[in-house]
Symmetry: C2
Subunit: 129 residues, 2 copies
DNA sequence: TTAGTGTTATATATAATGTATAACAGATAG
DNA sequence: CTATCTGTTATACATTATATATAACACTAA
């Protein structure tokens, strides 16, 4: 299954969908031009209303990850990475600062975070060309 | 000022308070045993209701960052870092995975994230003993 | 005695999240 | 041409999260 939803999560469902698809793109599971399930199909599949799926799709489109073609379908969009890189770097600063602060209070060495990130990169980029 | 609140933020006020105090502890601005402003004082200071501050304090106490002493005040608690380290590492995996995934889609090299983290560590640990 | 502490209770308001149902209008496949 | 599928819009509703307002409680500390 492309996505699995945790209904008990503190994270909104549409955010879980959004994050799942972003990870799918990063891992290469979803490639440029691939079609996504319709809002109804995906909604039924994961047990969620079509509007919730639509909310995730709208968000993903606004972020440049997908392209919604009315009455045709929704497709993965490679887009211009560099164009969105600055935006990402600006937005990730706050959350990352909080995460690092918490790590420092727990006396977790920076090397641990480096390793976690490296492991995630390896895992994501492992299934590429 | 210890804290500044962005009322237009998507992040809840009590979360901003919580994160600000965690960062304060990480940077050494807030040390073990230091007293925090009362819920009323801090609330007035940043233009927020005392219950909102109390919500942040309760959360921080549940996470082991502070100790609330009824009718006496609230104090920074060094606590046992190792005791909470595992919990943190478990919880940070999800958000970090999302962040890394997004970085990969934007073709941002892992070294960039490493550098950001190093910079934050340096900044936080720079003001220590 | 007085002021200050976190806490509890009650009430209210707003926004966010999610569901339900129906209809629209064009695309697409049979 | 017809039937199905597409994202979209509209309406309504329910629940939860967030935040404020006000008052009182019970104890601490100056």
């Amino acid at each position: 299954m492309l996505l699995s939803i945790d209904f008990g999560s503190d994270q909104p469902i549409y955010m879980q969908i959004r994050n799942g698809i972003v990870t799918g793109i990063a891992s290469g599971t979803l490639k440029d031009g691939d079609s996504l399930p319709s809002v109804r199909t995906l909604g039924t599949e994961i047990g969620v209303n079509l509007h919730t799926v639509n909310k995730a799709y709208q968000l993903l489109q606004s972020e440049g990850f997908i392209e919604i073609q009315r009455r045709r379908g929704t497709f993965i969009k490679a887009g211009d990475a560099a164009k969105h890189a600055a935006e990402f770097l600006k937005n990730c600063g706050g959350p990352l600062k909080t995460l690092v602060s918490e790590a420092v209070t727990r006396r977790i060495d920076r090397a641990v975070l480096h390793q976690m990130i490296d492991h995630m990169y390896d895992e994501l980029e492992g299934n590429k060309s």
